[in-house]
Symmetry: C2
Subunit: 341 residues, 2 copies
């Protein structure tokens, strides 16, 4: 399916196509001057939905890319395109490397890798890595480095030491000092949540339901007293349902409380500045982390998840993909006539 | 498919059909006098493989039952049949209740529930429950109560306080005192292992491979030093593979070490007699737990997983389903002629 759109006011004002292409979803933004968001889309075409290997995989990536933003690029073929996230991993469309922490968050033209496609080139942003040392396994991120750039860009007071938490499928706890990333830890909390509810024994006891804040609070409290560990507490959710003490429709909120509570109890003592934590992610997830952190007396400041779009804009400007203040419209280009013909 | 078998020496000697019908698999034993195992089978027809609800579910249970032992019962329709495990849960074939701990492990005829089927009746064994109290979620077991009966039956010194660990999809840590179960905890460790390797991001980095004891030991050690928590250590496995420091074929053993190490660190301090722990399960799993416990200076004694067959025999005898010493053969019954006609 190829969508072709006419020259809308958004396309006229557009300066950059920006993608956050992760494990479970793909977000696409059409950005105008100064990086303002003209249009945004979300697709469930994350990396886990594409084929495992081979030429099939590249074909599926091209298709997903076209679905996400092909119409924008056809309407204005002069638009540059940039993407961060797992699309640049070994299992992605094309591999791009990592910057090693400690590092500042400056991404140059030489750090980007261009994937050629029918509509031009997609520029891939490198990730960040922590080198393994001793028995520590090291760590990796792809996409969140861009989100961090965006967060630091909008934060009123981004100098000095900070802890940033980016909740998601693979939540990141990041320490930043004077705009340099000094270390980070990935917690597979969102993935564990999805796996146990979709594919495990809890899938037999869960029901579609409404949001239940009280069940979330019970989950947070359940793991706090006695250190049975998360895989024991997860089974407890099933026991509560079978005892008639937890509504099957409230199981997701209860399990969310268990998992986020466990994560915060482990990560918080490992961070130097726990008085104030910056959260960036979906409104719902940030609310949950703010609640869990609040129980430990930690104040949080929430930044909109559109920080990634801002980060992609900043990288595109810094690397010279676009010029920040040039006032361009594409109304008279031949590309445009081709796109709407 | 209906299998019909002739009168083998095993069928002549058979006294009981005994099933351990759990979440992920179904084991069937043909037991002779004194409960000795004449034949044993394993099917991948656990509860998770059957339909979610409705009449379809009962039909699938009948089919799985017939596949597992229909030929034995046709060859000798006088054979009684007994089953423990999730088959007696609300999502099973028919629901049977629980004994509440603290309790001795004596299961009477009145505790069994009979499911009628084409070939007679299948007697279902009740589970054990720990009542919820305060913020503790309570706990449940089905199948392991029978395994416990079998373990205590074969153990040379079963009086006094004991800790038994039954590794599996849902590992049980059980405290027994003078043959009474005083408390237990379920840890969803086997399930988490299967979920992250089959359905999560690690499924992208894992390869078929050989057993790697060194990778298991690395996994045990990885979580010991810095309390990052299991969902963080799990992501570390991916980082190690991408850094070229862990063979994709060794990921299952490494993850097994992470999960079992985390479980032992949480559960061991919660048990009063950690000097000696009884393990009962598959040889491979018991070996892994023995290794993890050995690192904490705990000696283990391993009992064969066929303890469940012994437990089913003991329940059948105690409840009067069979008489322990009657010497019966069924060679001349009309049932037998019908079965082989």
């Amino acid at each position: 399916v190829i969508r072709v759109i006419g020259i809308t006011p958004e396309i006229r004002a557009a300066r950059l196509v920006a993608l956050d292409w992760g494990t479970t979803s793909l977000r696409a933004w059409l950005l105008g001057g100064d990086g303002r968001i003209l249009e945004s889309r979300r697709h469930a075409r994350g990396l886990l939905s594409t084929a495992a290997a081979g030429p099939e995989r590249a074909r599926e990536h091209r298709m997903a890319f076209d679905e996400a933003c092909g119409d924008w690029l056809r309407a204005n073929t002069a638009l540059p395109a940039i993407a961060c996230g797992m699309v640049g991993s070994a299992q992605g469309w094309q591999e791009v490397g990592y910057l090693t922490v400690p590092t500042d968050l400056v991404i140059d033209a030489a750090d980007l890798i261009a994937v050629r496609h029918d509509l031009g080139a997609l520029h891939l942003v490198p990730g960040l890595r922590m080198a393994p040392h001793g028995t520590a396994s090291g760590d990796l991120m792809r996409g969140e480095e861009t989100q961090l750039i965006g967060v630091l860009d909008v934060l009123p007071d981004a100098d000095g030491p900070l802890t940033l938490v980016l909740p998601g499928t693979h939540t990141k706890w990041v320490r930043v000092d004077n705009r340099r990333v000094t270390s980070f830890t990935t917690v597979m909390s969102g993935e564990v949540f999805a796996l146990v509810l979709q594919h495990g024994i809890l899938a037999l006891t869960v029901a579609e339901g409404k949001r239940d804040d009280a069940a979330f609070a019970r989950g947070l409290a359940a793991g706090a007293g006695d250190a049975r560990g998360l895989p024991a507490e997860l089974f407890g959710a099933r026991a509560l349902v079978l005892e008639g003490l937890l509504d099957p429709a409230s199981v997701p909120d209860y399990v969310s409380g268990l998992i986020i509570g466990d994560e915060v109890r482990h990560q918080l003592p490992r961070h130097a500045n726990p008085d104030r934590i910056i959260l960036c992610g979906t409104t719902d997830l940030c609310r949950r982390y703010a609640s869990a952190l609040g129980q430990h007396g930690v104040q949080t400041h929430i930044v909109s998840e559109d920080a990634t779009a801002r980060g992609l804009w900043a990288i595109a400007v810094h690397s010279g993909l676009i010029e920040p203040d040039a006032a361009t419209t594409s109304a008279e280009t031949p590309d445009e006539r081709r796109a709407i013909s």
